[in-house]
Amino acid sequence: MIQIGIDFGGTKIEAAALDADGQFLTRVRTPNPGCYDAAIRDLCGLIAQAESEAGGRGTIGIGTPGSISPRDGLMRNSNATFLNGRRFREDLEAALGREVRMANDANCMALSETVDGAAAGARSAFGVIVGTGVGGGLVVDGRIVEGANGMGGEWGHVPLPWMTADEFPGPACWCGLHGCLDMLVSGTGFRNDYVRRSGVTLDGPAIVVAAERGARDAVAALDAYVDRLGRAMAMVANIVDPDVFVLGGGMSNVAAIYDPLPAIISRYSFGRDWKGRVVPARWGDSSGVRGAARLWPA
């Protein structure tokens, strides 16, 4: 059975077709047109192209920014603001004449990694996406935990746990609260912290290189970052206790974070007895599109 997965990204829309073994049959993409009707149209065209190149029809799954409210079926919290308040899934199904499954893109990443990625074989996994912002997704027994309000995995706007006096109350977040993880353990938060310490603006990789060379502010920023991320993950360990934490997004490419994280998580976890895996995603940027494909059974 061919599984078509679509990653509805801010700048581009990508469709991929997977075969029964999870191999890519084809990958196609088109720029995000920036408005609703064109998006529906372009999606239909993209799916047709993918299926033509893959040599057959498939199931259709889509990963989107934001999510569908289980109460009213409308999209919300999407970075593509033209989706908000729309019946995106229904409208697309009407245009295609076929059933479509849809889920938040962070949730899709977690699902993909559970099926045949870095969390394969695990009973539960928490996807940690630390890029421009902070996203998350929880998968248990092969199913995404959407939650009663569709908020499952939305840990970006809990406050940094176990804040020190210096850290409190934390930066004001665009969501209206203070000290959110989105402002602190994202790649953006990492860069901002470094600027605050050093007065110098560098991009993430440059800060990491400086830390490797022993530059004091860079080392301090990286240490603080890992400690904060560890605390955030310890909080999840205390509540859900997943088998595996799978990391994606720009900061997941920093090799130096993986060694110290388990000890930090353990230190903050109840009983200090946590043992689990913290690993980078196997599928990288492809996890979104693969996870979307996996919204249907193979």
């Binding site: 920036g34 970075n79 908000n84 912002g133 004001a172 977040c173 969501c175 860069r191 901002n192 007065g199």
Partner: protein, 410 residues
């Protein structure tokens, strides 16, 4: 340059006098920190004004080299400020990529505070007003403004129409002498406004930097960027607000004046009346006083609605007085500045502004036929919410679009 947006005491103030370059939290740390780079601002402005433009066309317009433009557009793509609008076909070789502002890439919020109302709008970088809310309130106190902004921002957030993580800042437009100038019905305590630090006031309500300007200046800037600015590079803007303000735009740039008090036509003396000034006649306060005298109320005026019939004779009388009173000021504006046009805006129905414009023009040409030049007088394109929309543009101008200040900065 210290990055102070990150501090618990959020944000900082950029006044009309100091235009420091700094980006919002989610846009910082990218190569956009070089937003101080004038060339980058110019390229962004060109793309904004000319959607679907190609890199080659940008080169022709700006005289920048192809590698420079490739470099700059690369950074703008990386920061999600521009998008690929698809390719233009025809001609030889690879179809050229067309560039457009990402409508969801960057937003700003605009607040207009006046003695008779308060307005909050949100604007995207491409120029679409995403939301607007106005509350008709007389002499709102600072605490009222904070409550209004808190509620307004929460509503914007709930609407899903704006990416709150891509808001660059909040622009605030208000009259310069909000607390100082005596106005009819001004309550005791309103003078507090003279001592208000707007950044401190709004710092709790919003997590973004605050950019402040005079309301007529903001309206003129809004008109220059989004309204008639496409047609007239130089114009004089007249804002009929609770008071009366003006703004001078020369070659697309707002001229601020040595003390940032240009355009203050409201303070011009009335011909033959030593104790009164122009804004005592040409203002919503003056119109309101007339209506009140007749037992009527000004109320909230929508541009789509004309005044009720009962108001007509009083509005007519006000228009007659106001258009006559404007003649000396307009004579001076024409002689001193020689603008391409005079534009009138304000929270009045379109037809009333149209009549004010045409009556003033007619009276001016009759009274001063021999002055060297008389510019046409029109209703401005951005009339009702002009100061709020102009306020929303201030964060863009301060940080990522061209403005004079960055040329002047050493």
């Amino acid at each position: 340059m210290a990055f102070s947006d990150y501090q618990p005491q959020m944000g900082s103030s950029v006044t009309a006098d100091e235009r420091a370059v700094r980006l919002g939290p989610s846009l910082s740390g990218t190569n956009l920190e070089r937003a101080g780079d004038y060339n980058q601002r110019v390229v962004l402005q060109v793309i904004r004004r000319h959607p679907d433009i190609t890199r080659t066309e940008i080169a022709t317009m700006t005289n920048l080299t192809a590698p420079t433009i490739a470099n700059i557009t690369g950074r703008l793509f990386e920061a999600d400020l521009i998008i690929d609008a698809g390719r233009r076909h025809g001609g030889r070789g690879q179809p050229a990529v067309r560039l457009r502002i990402n409508p969801d890439g960057c937003f700003a919020i605009g607040l207009n505070i006046d003695r008779d109302h308060v307005t909050l709008v949100s604007l995207d970088l491409a120029g679409t007003v995403r939301s607007r809310v106005t509350r008709q309130v007389s002499f709102a106190m600072p605490e009222d403004i904070v409550a209004f902004v808190r509620d307004g921002v929460a509503d914007i957030r709930a609407s899903g129409k704006v990416r709150m993580d891509r808001v660059l800042g909040v622009g605030v437009a208000l009259p310069d002498d909000l607390g100082r100038v005596p106005m009819p019905h001004r309550p005791a305590g309103y003078e507090r406004w003279a001592d208000v630090d707007l950044q401190a006031l709004l710092g709790d309500a919003v997590p973004w930097s605050v950019h402040i300007d005079n309301d007529a200046a903001a309206a003129a800037i809004g008109e220059a960027q989004f309204g008639s600015g496409h047609d007239h590079a130089s114009f004089f803007y007249i804002l009929v607000s609770a008071g009366l303000g003006g703004g001078v735009v020369i070659d697309g740039s707002y001229y601020r004046g040595a003390g940032a008090r240009s355009g203050e036509i409201g303070f011009l003396p009335l011909a033959g009346e030593p104790d009164r000034v122009l804004q005592d006649v040409v203002s919503l306060s003056a119109l309101s006083a007339r209506l009140e005298h007749a037992g009527l109320e000004l109320g909230t005026v929508e541009t789509t609605q004309a005044f009720p019939a009962a108001y007509a004779q009083h509005v007519d009388a006000w228009l007659d007085e106001a258009s006559s009173a404007l003649v000396p000021a307009l004579t001076a504006v024409n002689c001193l500045i020689n603008p391409a046009a005079v534009l009138i805006g304000g929270r009045l129905p379109d037809d009333v502004l149209d009549r004010l414009a045409s009556d003033a023009y007619r009276k001016l040409t009759a009274a001063a036929p021999n002055i060297p030049t008389i510019a046409p007088i029109h209703r401005a394109m951005l009339s009702q919410d002009a100061p709020a929309v102009g306020a929303a543009i201030l964060p863009f101008l301060d940080r990522i679009l061209p403005s004079d200040a960055i040329l002047i900065k050493g």
